[in-house]
């Protein structure tokens, strides 16, 4: 199928809007072909993941765009980077890598992107509304935008994200269309206690289990409490986007496009329908843990994706009397951190022994110091990727299990939470 281009698209493609716009449009047209999109559509915002340094190739690409006069055409936020610009001493990268990482960040800012440096752009005040077409990268942000906000984005990633931002265009396919958003798999919570189903850790375990089983399909989840808060939905989405390629889920009776199961599936018979039990959630928890209860830990890391203000309040409450015996790290975006500082929350947290990390994240760059052992985390995404990225053993649990573990210096399990 040949993608149909407007006169403006063609002008960009033939180079009359500069070399950067031509390269961006060339890659967009190629992607439209891969996605079998009939045409391109306007998008109103972009979120860029390409600013996180993984080697020279990303810098070469950004330099090529910058040299070709690349400037974003729509409001564009930036994902985490490899550096904490507010606290550079926290990150122990070798100087050459740090210099290239910094140059990469500067290149994106020079192209007109906002220096937000967060993986949670949905926490920024200007987040997209229901039905809005956007081009977002970062798997947890993508799944949140689609599922929780009802905005529409495909799984954009490094390179194509800035192409969308420079052209203001994206291929009309997949999750940008009504058909692409319908659930084709249904997962029903069966016999899961209210306490677990209405906990953030439980939601993350559901997401992990669903992601493992769905692959790239859009799943509908039945049985989550009607008042499941945004933070739990994002934990679910982040987990499902890590263990699978989930870019959108429906939580029936909770998320905006799923008032009923029929609305989520469009009335079609699902390709698969499965139950999720408490035992499945324990299995998910254990798959996210390379060490078990009672194992001494070296650190605790919470906030992947970056903590919300509610998450920081919860952490401050739990940490107030925790007296940690190991380092505790909390990742938080600079905007949320500033809001928290106004309320005195950041002072409270630092006094309680928490190291706040901004602009980056403890699972992608060496922040956590020579730890004497495994890391406990409340993040399924952290637990899933850190063993490969950083070589840590991990234990996954609720934020309360994390803070209790920080006090005890070993993995503490809340058997009541995870029990039948």
């Amino acid at each position: 199928m040949q993608v149909e281009l407007t006169a403006e698209d063609r002008a960009a493609l033939d180079g009359s809007r500069g070399d950067a716009a031509a390269l961006a449009m060339r890659l967009l047209v190629a992607m439209a072909g891969v996605m079998e999109a009939p045409s391109l559509i306007d998008v109103s915002s972009a979120h860029i993941d390409g600013c996180l340094y993984h080697g020279r190739a990303g810098l070469d690409f950004a330099r090529r765009l910058a040299a070709g006069g690349g400037q974003v055409a729509i409001p564009t936020s930036l994902n985490v980077s490899s550096l904490d610009l507010l606290h550079p001493e926290l990150v122990r990268l070798d100087p050459a890598t740090a210099a290239e990482a910094r140059e990469l960040m500067d290149a994106y800012v020079a192209m007109g992107c906002r220096a937000t440096w967060t993986c949670a752009p949905y926490q920024l005040p200007e987040r997209p509304g229901f039905g809005e077409q956007v081009a977002w990268a970062e798997s947890n942000a993508i799944v949140f935008a689609n599922s929780v906000l009802g905005a529409r984005t495909n799984r954009y990633g490094d390179f194509i994200d800035i192409c969308c931002a420079i052209t203001g265009r994206a291929p009309l396919a997949g999750l940008h269309t009504d058909e692409g958003r319908r659930a084709t798999a249904v997962f029903t919570l069966e016999g899961v206690a209210d306490a677990l189903a209405s906990s953030e850790a439980g939601a993350a375990a559901v997401g992990h289990a669903v992601g493992r089983r769905t692959g790239t399909a859009v799943p509908a989840i039945v049985g989550l409490p009607a008042r499941t808060p945004e933070d739990h939905l994002r934990a679910l989405g982040a987990a499902a986007a890590s263990s699978g390629a989930v870019a959108m889920f429906h939580a029936v009776g909770v998320t905006p496009e799923a008032p009923t199961l029929e609305a989520a599936t469009g009335g079609a018979e699902p390709v698969r329908a499965e139950a999720i039990s408490t035992a499945d959630l324990r299995a998910a928890r254990d798959e996210l843990s390379t060490v078990g209860p009672g194992t001494p830990i070296g650190a605790v890391s919470v906030g992947t994706p970056h903590l919300s203000l509610d998450g920081l309040v919860h952490l401050a409450t739990l940490m107030a009397d925790a007296r940690p015996t190991v380092p505790v790290y909390a990742n938080v975006g600079r905007d949320v951190r500033a809001a928290a500082a106004e309320q005195g929350l950041t002072d409270d947290l630092e006094r309680a022994g928490v190291t706040l990390v901004s602009d980056t994240c403890t699972y992608i760059t060496p922040v956590i110091r020579e730890t004497a052992g495994p890391v406990m985390t409340d993040s399924a995404k952290w637990a899933w990727y850190a063993p490969g990225n950083l070589g840590f053993d991990t234990a996954f649990g609720s934020m309360e299990e994390c803070t209790r573990s920080a006090a005890a210096g070993l993995v503490v399990r809340d058997e009541e939470l995870w029990g039948d």
Binding site: D49, L52, H54, D60, R155, T216, A241
Partner: protein, 141 residues
């Protein structure tokens, strides 16, 4: 449905086939400095992807995989080609960007179910992927 096979990124390659038992997120799953499979949850963790023709049923996980693939291609440790069971824009993009930046080609092809099912780890293959639907897979000695 578009007819298969489909070429998502063109090129020519030859090498030893590695059929992955599960999808792999290249970000967090392949070390872009060595080409090693580093996802500890993956059944083939520890395998080398460098220079091999990698077959995988579909993509998975992080949207940073395009960057990791382009970087591995630049560093000369990427797979020689990808044979996919389903289209994956993220893998295709990494290959296309490496082509734009460095003129280095790693073909990415979607195969029909029957051909994909016939792939066996260890076989040596030549992949010729021209534009759109022209794909030639040849067993070599």
């Amino acid at each position: 449905m578009t007819e298969l096979p489909r070429v998502l990124a063109p090129g020519t390659a030859s090498g030893e086939l590695l059929v992955l038992d599960e999808p792999l997120s290249l970000w967090g799953g392949m070390d872009p400095a060595t080409g090693k499979l580093i996802d500890v949850h993956h059944p083939q963790a520890g395998a080398s992807l460098a220079g091999r023709i990698v077959a995988m049923p579909s993509g998975r996980g992080s949207s940073s995989s395009s960057y990791v693939l382009a970087e591995a291609i630049r560093a000369g440790v990427a797979p020689a080609a990808f044979l996919l069971g389903e289209p994956d824009a993220i893998v295709a993009l990494g290959a296309l960007v490496a082509g734009e930046l460095y003129g280095m080609e790693v073909p990415v092809v979607v195969l029909d179910r029957e051909t994909y099912a016939s792939l066996v780890t260890g076989a040596r293959l030549e992949v010729i992927a021209e534009s759109s639907h022209r794909v030639v897979l040849t067993a070599i000695a």
